[in-house]
Each structure stands twice: as C-alpha cells, then as structure tokens.
Assembly symmetry: C2
Homo-oligomer: 343 residues x 2
C-alpha cells in the first residue's frame, strides 16, 4: 500500500533538431511539463504532459498553473486505487495532456511498487513495435529530401503531412512514394482540406497507382458528416485524429460510421479515455493508430508502454522524441532504428 | 516472470439450500468446474466456471471436454501477458463461462505474483459493495414469505423473479413491496413476457404507486426492438441481461438505444468482454448491474473482485453462493449480511 505524498511539476524546454512544419505553421521548440508522483514509500512515478494549443487549447503556463489543483485532487490517494484516481483526474477537462501525464505517473509508481513493467500492466501483448517518421510540409524538394533521409535511416512507414496546397501535396506524395519503394504511407491533412479537395486528392492518388495506408483527418475536426462523406468516397482508410479526443468522441464517430481508424494520442485522451477508446474501437471493428504531440523520450515512453501492452495498434506514429534535442534518453525502451523494444 | 505450467479442471457439485425457481423451471443442484492455473513458480490461480445451458447453451460435461483444448491454447504462456491470454481465450465462443474461469484464474495468479489484490488490479475503486437477494417464482404466499425472510436478514435490495403469470406476478410484487418497506426492487422477467404484457406490467405497477428500480429483460433476448419499445414506454429503467453477452451485443444495444442498464455477468462475457462492456456503458451513459449464474463462493469472488475494482456498478446481484450448501467458504472477501467487503 502506498499513498501519494507529493507531486512535482517540472518545466522542460526542448529544441527541435529542425523546424517541424504542418499545415498550420512551424515550430522550433516545445515546452513540456514533467510530472513526478512521489509515494509515502519513496517510489517516484514519472509522466510527461506535452501541451498543445492547436489540438487542446493548452499552454505550458496553464498546465503549471494547475499544479495546486492537481495536488488538491489526488494527494494522499492510494496508488493501488488507480481507477479512483482516473475518475478524479477525468475532471481535468481543459487539460488532457496533464491528465495523461498524471495518470501515467501514477501507473508508473504502481508498477514499480508491484515490480511489473508498465507494458505488462497494460496487458503485455507485444514487446516490439515499429514507428513511422514524419515528413514536414515544406517545399517539394525539401519534402522529398527529408523522406529519402528517413528511408535511408531504415524507416519503412512514412507519415506525410499535407494540407497546404492540393497540387503541391499531390506532387510531393507522388515523388516521395517514387523515391521510397516498399514503404507504407500515412498521409495527414490535419483538418486542412475541404471536403471536395479531400475526395479529389485520394481519387487522384488512386488513379495514379499510389497506394496509401491511411488518410488522416482530411477535414475539420467538427465536420463528422464530412469525414463520413470522405470515408465512403475514398479507396483508402480514413482516420480520425483531431476529431477524436474523448471516449465520447469515439462513440459518436462509431455511431456515425464516420471513419475506418482512430488515432489515439495519450495527450488528447489521457490513459483512462485511451483505454475506453481501445475497447470501443475493437468492438466496432475500427483500426487503431497511436500518435504523439511533442513528447520527449520520457513522454513517448508512456505511449510505448501503452501500445506494447495493449498490442492492437496497426500503426505507431511515435517519433516526436526523435525530432527533439535531448541531453539524455530517458525512456524505459530501446530504440533500434524504426523498432521500439521493451522488456 | 511466470509461465503457465499446468491447468486443472475440477468438477464440483453443489446442492441448493432450497429449490431455485425462475420462469423456466427450477433447479435443486448445480455442477461447476473449478479452474486452477499453475505457474512454473508454483503459484496457483483459482477460477470457476458456472455453465448455464439456458443462458449460454453450456453443460458441465462440455466444459470438462474442453480441458485439453484450453491447455493447447495457453500452456506455457506468460501470465504477465494477460491480454494475449485474453485474446486467445476470446476464441472460446461456445463456452463464455469457461473463458471467465480461465481468465480470472490467470489474473488471480498474476495478482499473487505481483502481491496486489485482484480488486486493486481491476482499479481499486471500492472496498465494499451491497448485494441483493432473490425471490424465486413460486406461489404468491411462498414468494411473500421468502421476501420477508430476506428482509429480516437485513437485505435492502430484493430481486423478484417474474414472468410466469402476469396477474400473479403483479400481486406478488405488490405484496412483497408492502411487506418490505424501504427496500429497492429489481424485477426480472427472464425474457418471459410479451411486449404488450411487459408494458402493461410496468404501467400497472406505476399507477398503483409501486416504484421499482430496474425491470430486467422483459422480452426475448433476440427482440432488441421490443426492448426499446418497452424502454420508451416504461417509467422504470429497463435492463438487458440475456440480450447482453458479448461486447458486440453491448454496442448493438447502445446503437439501438434499447436499454437503460446492462447486467454484466462474468459467466456470459468472461473478464475481457466484461471490461469492454464497462467502458462502452460508461461512455454511453448506460447504468450497470453485475449478476451471477450459480457460482459458489470461489466463483462469486471473481465478480466481487471485479465489481469492487471497477467500482461503477449501481446494483450487485451476487447472491448465488448464499443459495448453495458449501462445506467451506472460499472467497477472498467477507460477507456481512448484505455487505461484501474486500481489502
């Protein structure tokens, strides 16, 4: 038995190795908040919140400002009663990335106390997953160059960000595919196409013999009918990302038959909703991807442990730590090229 | 780390303290199969299968005949990889009670290895639940007598079996309510009303000032439209029992908006589908009951650990062990009247 004696929030700043560009602009650095949950027996559980203003409306300052609130909520709670802590932290409606970091830190402490690895706590299905790497939205030449670099590093799943200019996007996807034979491709528009452009885009790719594995969030997160329209007019599976944060979003997407796949990110859902979304998706025959925001190695570790344990993710997009300058690698996993190993 | 070295199936026969009668007939004894999962480190995990021919089409002989199949499926599997074992045992399509017993025995062994109580493994939300007791379908006088006896023993949630004769059922419910003031009532027709009778029944109760908390499985398990009709014509919450075995049933019931509540029984769903159904129900704002078949104390223990850990059951109908003659009490819980305590 071990109660939570203290919780610490530690601001960390990371610089991107190169600017990371999506349809909305580019970032050169990120600020994450490390969460330490300390038990009365001296065990420290580690988590990380990677706040995203674009996705969740969160800022690092806002997360830091919630420290005393989180302490009020869960100090003195027993870590073995983790679902009680999940229920309490589910109230952090405006800060899902904080919910994720706190919930994982509690699970990490519990696993240390019980001498079980976190991936085993979550179910122990796989001790190895494969991650993609992501090509930013830049000039066509830069995008091709970045893709070839990724390919040469041994990655065989490539995520291509699109959504800025339809024709340039088509050309970039053609050229990337032509230069990286044998790969699978996730194309992500980050909400930035119109409905008609999205359908034109996939039909054009298809008629040119391009095969993509997933087309992610083609239209606005709020346009569930639009997602469904694209789904039933696309030869490729359609995946919800920004449209899917809570388990309630998942049920709505299932009821509306809007998508073929869900992209779960712990930073959008926390551990509690991520578990629920997995069960909903498996029941409704929806495929699963796990993604990330801007987590460092200690934050990506959360998704690695979760994805390996649950074991039902068709695609893992867990590459943010590879984009950041970090003085020390701090995950409980081994990165061997595109492979991520636990246990 | 501990692999499964052996699995034992042990047939146990139990006699009911008094014949247990529902709309379909009565039983005087039951045969359950105890499941022992033995790990290479010598830990023994205990589970129980309580087969039901009426609910699942199972017989004890059939469960025993699956012993070698189960051994083929999971011998040598690591108990820490419990979701892998869940995925494998999910293939036991014809024998959900066996799936339940095997899955719980694995979790029990894992919890012993990690020195965590099973209710904490499931989430640790509650260390106390309250069970109902059940009044059989017999003569009106016998039903009233049994209800008063239950009431005098301190139970304040009474489950009343109906479904044999509409007018006798109405009279029995009136009289039971009149003689057991301050109780809550679950009325269970076990599929045995017509749609019109079901609506007549609840409206008649309501107009006579009788308040019941749950009306369970009024019509055939296959009549989802019928359940929905009753739901929207009933002042009382409608609960699915026989209609709800797998998580796929749960999703269908949610999509059809057919019921207000789910009665989860591990013997219908196993642990794996029960976990999924909980997540589905919480997401869809469906209330939850946990029920039983004919488990002895070691089998009821499974549902007790699950219900306490998950902590979101509005009603617990875990009384089968109280109906059976047992030489030794074998649950990891304490029964104090209607209260069930863990930890």
């Amino acid at each position: 038995m071990s109660r939570i004696k203290d919780i610490r929030f530690i601001l960390k700043k990371y610089t991107y190795k190169r600017p990371f560009c999506i349809a909305y602009g580019f970032v050169t650095e990120t600020e994450n908040i490390e969460i330490e949950v300390i038990t009365e027996s001296g065990i420290v559980g580690y988590g990380e919140s990677a706040p995203s203003f674009r996705i969740n409306g969160e800022t690092p300052e806002m997360i830091l400002a919630l420290e005393s609130k989180v302490k009020d909520m869960i100090l003195d709670k027993e870590i073995r009663h983790y679902r009680e802590i999940f229920n309490i932290t589910d109230k952090l409606l405006s800060s899902p990335s904080l919910k994720a970091g706190v919930q994982f830190a509690v699970i990490d402490a519990l696993c240390k106390e019980c001498e079980i690895d976190a991936w085993e706590f979550f179910g122990g299905v796989k001790n190895e997953i494969e991650t993609d790497r992501t090509v930013s939205v830049r000039s066509i030449e830069d995008r091709i160059e970045e893709a070839i670099e990724i390919y040469k590093e041994g990655f065989r799943i490539i995520k291509i960000k699109v959504g800025e200019d339809l024709n340039k996007d088509l050309e970039a996807v053609y050229e990337i595919c032509r230069n990286t034979e044998g790969c699978r491709y996730i194309v992500d528009a980050n909400e930035n196409y119109t409905l008609k452009d999205a359908v034109y885009f996939v039909k054009k790719l298809y008629s040119n013999g391009i095969d993509i594995s997933v087309f992610e969030q083609p239209v606005s997160r709020y346009d569930i009918e639009g997602l469904k329209y694209v789904r039933f007019n696309s030869p490729f599976p359609i995946c919800a990302d920004e449209s899917l944060k809570t388990k309630y979003n998942a049920l709505k997407l299932i009821k509306e038959e809007a998508v073929d796949m869900f992209n779960i990110k712990l930073m959008k859902s926390g551990i509690s909703d991520a578990i629920a979304i997995v069960e909903l998706a498996k029941t409704a025959n929806i495929k699963l991807m796990i993604g990330c925001v801007s987590e460092s190695s200690i934050g990506i570790n959360q998704s690695v442990q979760f994805a390996c344990g649950i074991g039902c993710f068709d695609f893992c997009d867990l590459d943010s730590h590879l984009m950041l300058e970090e003085s020390d690698f701090r995950g409980s996993f081994r990165q061997v090229g595109s492979k991520i190993l636990v246990g």
